[in-house]
Symmetry: D2
Subunit: 339 residues, 4 copies
């Protein structure tokens, strides 16, 4: 299904200005909320509740916590698009069954997400190899679940379970999109950061018990209003290819509608040979550091702060880097930024 | 005096690799240390102690806390430069008398810093109107000092005293460099953010009882190895003029040696009309947010992370923005980046 | 009206086990939620939403953020009590009109809260001089409101506005309960910490635009199941009088149902002559420090962690201390702790 | 050797008032500094540097970070005691060889600490079974060390390495003092929290590459001025036995000189059946929560805030609890608290 995107600023996590999307069939709401993005980030649940209650029909809500630095809280509403343009951007949705506590962060989750990704691409009408961004919202483990598993959980630290869950989800996407095979998936689960997907974007939250998959991709046949392209940042300051894409879009008369990025602290503690301090800061989680820095960079490049930067890029792009998907409107198109 | 700059990465706050500057007469050490940049940031005192003990002769040490996001802990060693090049960058130093507790953040501090700035420019051999960056390291008020003042201190909150001290220092620089007059200085003290200096860069620390002023500027007569230029960011994502300066330097065959920037959260809570959350985050001070974001942006633009980004830009550049000074080496020059 | 209290543990901010209070007429829900207790604590709004939606009839919801240290998230449900016991504890409710942005933290708020407190005591059927605890939930100022007031707000810092709002509310309670007069109220507003109420307990939240007042007190005529007594901690470790009260209740065969306390960092930076570091910690707000410490102390004294400790005790008890109200059930009574 | 203890308040991490201990032979300085107690707590290194430079002869410096809540930064100076009293408290010191990166948190560290503990008790002149408190200061792993070990380190997270190092140190103490055998030590390393020492008190810091062991114990022969007794808290609010000890000491005319405690968040997320939120707080590490809460409780019980509460009690007392050692002066004795 071709889709349109509408970027809607919000005044608080429970601000759901649904009138902004009046008259459209809403498929999904992808939000950045202003919590800490960690285990106890309740801004996500609050926003999910507000949008779910506000929309007249069921829609997927993916709320990612953390608008550090210049980032502005907002939601991107994904709605059914027109069928009369030259754009190729489409989207499809699917979800996994409920995950077991023991299966989180393990092959059970990888395979479940892979199956859901294939289904989502099929629903969207595009080949998984033409996926641009596959958003996965996945569960974490609470202290209670960890205790109930009696040592069977993948980790005994709730905060670390977020990383494990994002990793397994991303490996599932990579498997489905043909980026890796099963052997590499197991290597990735074992902690090999060189196994990664260029299209996965996973975030973990306390309010879920299964994985929700929203896949964006390009259909072969034109018809919609929007297009998308994904580039990979190879470290957290690798901006040249992004600048080049921006300039190409502008030169062709296009209008950038939204930017989706993943950010993380490079696990070896260095960027281009120099030490960073994101991993040794006991006051501030590295995901907050990384979102702030990459958010500042991309906001400067694109001249706006209501962009989607999600932290924790385990197996999503190379170690310390991450994929960036830019969505733009064709010169005579329909996607729009309101308010 | 013409100066050279050497950027030295450090492994910890108490890592002072003084052998890197062997054979140079060191005037100052300007460091970014990895603490929180707030009242209880002891990385500054630790670094000051290590460098002071390590250097063979007295030098000014200005340690600014906070390397959030991609920023890398480092020091910029300012040493006596050659006198045989075409560069014009020079520096001079001065300090104020000890400030009274009641005078901090008030006109006493403004006037003392203005006098010291004039003296520093004179020592550097350049006109105050040609100053590029005037670094001021200034005191803050501790809880004990605030109590001892019995209501006479400018604020009763130690953290806020850092902001007041930076503001008064910056207004003093502006007064000395002819950017404002006395009336505007008083307006600035009263909280008017539209009164600002384009060259001041102030940071506050618990380890001082007076203000230290290190002024950089351009001499009329060429002779050194380095040049500098200051541009102003009008908000925290205002990067176009900086990119243009970078491209001009590169086109002319120059090599960028160091970048000095100030960053702050815009006090009206908005950037280009959209809400940011830096001022309403009780977990994380806005200066940490701002350093991370602006640091990410500038690191991306310049392709390196050992740059100087100092938080808290009260009256240093327009509200929410701040001055950025770029120092570069002439095509056949002597400043260098080691390690 | 005589009241019963039921302490209900919760599994998350949006866990509202309303079946625990089935069959009772609920007057109020007083919760401790697990956010940071600061400006961006969305656990309060989430819990308010969950309980409001869960209860079959309207009830006052007072959610106070912050369960640092050993404290356990819970709600205390206040319901209509029996009329056949020997207890005297009663409660009444009232609210102020909407506060203006300029009036917050000023005499407008003091007088409005005083009037509401008088009304609440009257509704509860007891003399204001016999009040035990007067809970006030009051607004804070957002960055947007501060900007809209163009300098007219009592402070330009959202976090500080919480303190100003708590102070004004507490002074209003003190005025109504005959603890102070109007002159002292103005001194308190001007920052004099020696002006305080022994019964006020105020907390500020982003989700309100007026003050809600729930007053507890002792009626002259016995009839209910519960009794209460308030003692004042003179500093954050002043526990002897509380231990004595506990021992008296136990000796008389009573059962302690709930404990309500206020905690704050002593503003002079010292406790019994020795320095504390709560006010100079840029990583962690002093209210979190204080709740954790006083919560640990009271949990140890009473042997349970589901007690109510609210931070920010401006003008609520002496500087650095705060009032503690202990509610107990008579030997043959009806208040109970469930789950 | 019999020892005396002198508790010295400090004004900052680099405040080392060595005149307070003039004329005594100083064996050790045990400090609580005001950092976050985590990886990037530089207050420890700063204090170590200040005391090392200030003392006229070499002494062991054990600096433990974190004075959350009401706790007051201070040092306890351990000096050579008199030999003419009735007290039995003695102390001895030893250290391990440098630990390998791979050996940290593993059996290598356990055995090295066990050997050093035996040596320290022998140096102190008491049987290891009569040890009261064995302080171990141990290393952590930095990101650089973890990377250099290429997967061989016990964990790839610097913050978690602190916990692993404390656990291995504590198991080594338990082994030496006859509390456990080698099989239990391995179980403890594998994560079994039911294997613990009642006398170990370990803290980890970035400034070390080996373990330092300072053992306190009771000699069979009286001669000094001080005595000590250790009780175990079985959870973080288990205070009754401590209150009883305090009352016994007071009744016998003794004066309490210092209290040493360990604190941690119970790993199952519950205290007496009710949920705590220390482990799911992404903003604030659980060690800071635990120190604040237990510090508040003990400060209330003993009526003073300059007590030693160290966080992270892995295998030091039962899960969620920890040992508490109380040192007191005999009715006619010499240990004292100055300033």
């Amino acid at each position: 299904m071709y889709v349109d995107l509408t970027v809607v600023p919000v005044a608080a996590p429970d601000d759901a200005p649904v009138d902004r999307v009046f008259g459209r069939r809403v498929l999904a709401v992808i939000g950045k909320t202003e919590g800490n993005g960690g285990v106890n980030d309740f801004s996500r649940a609050l926003a999910t509740r507000a949008w779910t209650e506000g929309l007249s029909e069921p829609a997927l809500t993916v709320m990612s916590g953390g608008t550090e630095g210049v980032l502005s809280p907002h939601v991107t509403v994904v709605s059914e698009g027109s069928t009369s343009g030259n754009g190729r951007l489409a989207a499809g949705f699917a979800q996994t069954p409920r995950l077991s506590v023991e299966g989180l962060g393990r092959r059970e989750q990888v395979d479940a997400v892979a199956a859901a990704t294939l289904e989502a691409c099929r629903n969207g009408g595009f080949d998984p190899r033409n996926a641009h961004m596959v958003l996965v919202k996945c569960p974490l483990l609470t202290t209670e679940q960890i205790v109930s598993a009696r040592g069977g959980a993948v980790t005994d630290d709730p905060y670390l379970s977020m990383a494990r869950s994002r990793a397994a989800s991303s490996l599932g996407v990579a498997l489905a999109c043909g980026e890796i095979g099963g052997v590499e998936a197991d290597q990735g689960l074992a902690g090999d950061p060189s196994v990664w997907s260029a299209v996965a974007s996973a975030s973990a939250g306390i309010e879920l018990d299964r994985c929700l998959v929203l896949a964006f991709g390009s259909r072969l046949d034109p018809g919609g209003q929007l297009n998308a392209e994904t580039v990979v940042m190879h470290d957290a300051i690798d901006v040249e290819e992004i600048v080049a894409l921006r300039d190409r879009i502008r030169a062709a008369g296009g209008t950038i509608v939204q930017v989706f990025a993943k950010a993380e602290a490079s696990p070896d503690g260095r960027i281009r040979g120099l030490r960073h301090t994101m991993l040794t800061d006991t006051d501030l989680s590295s995901t907050r550091h990384a979102r702030a820095a990459v958010g500042g960079l991309l906001a400067g490049v694109f001249g706006r702060t209501s962009i989607y930067v999600s932290g924790g890029a385990e197996n999503q792009g190379p170690p310390g880097g991450g994929p960036v998907t830019v969505v733009w409107q064709e010169p005579t198109g329909g996607g729009e930024t309101r308010r």
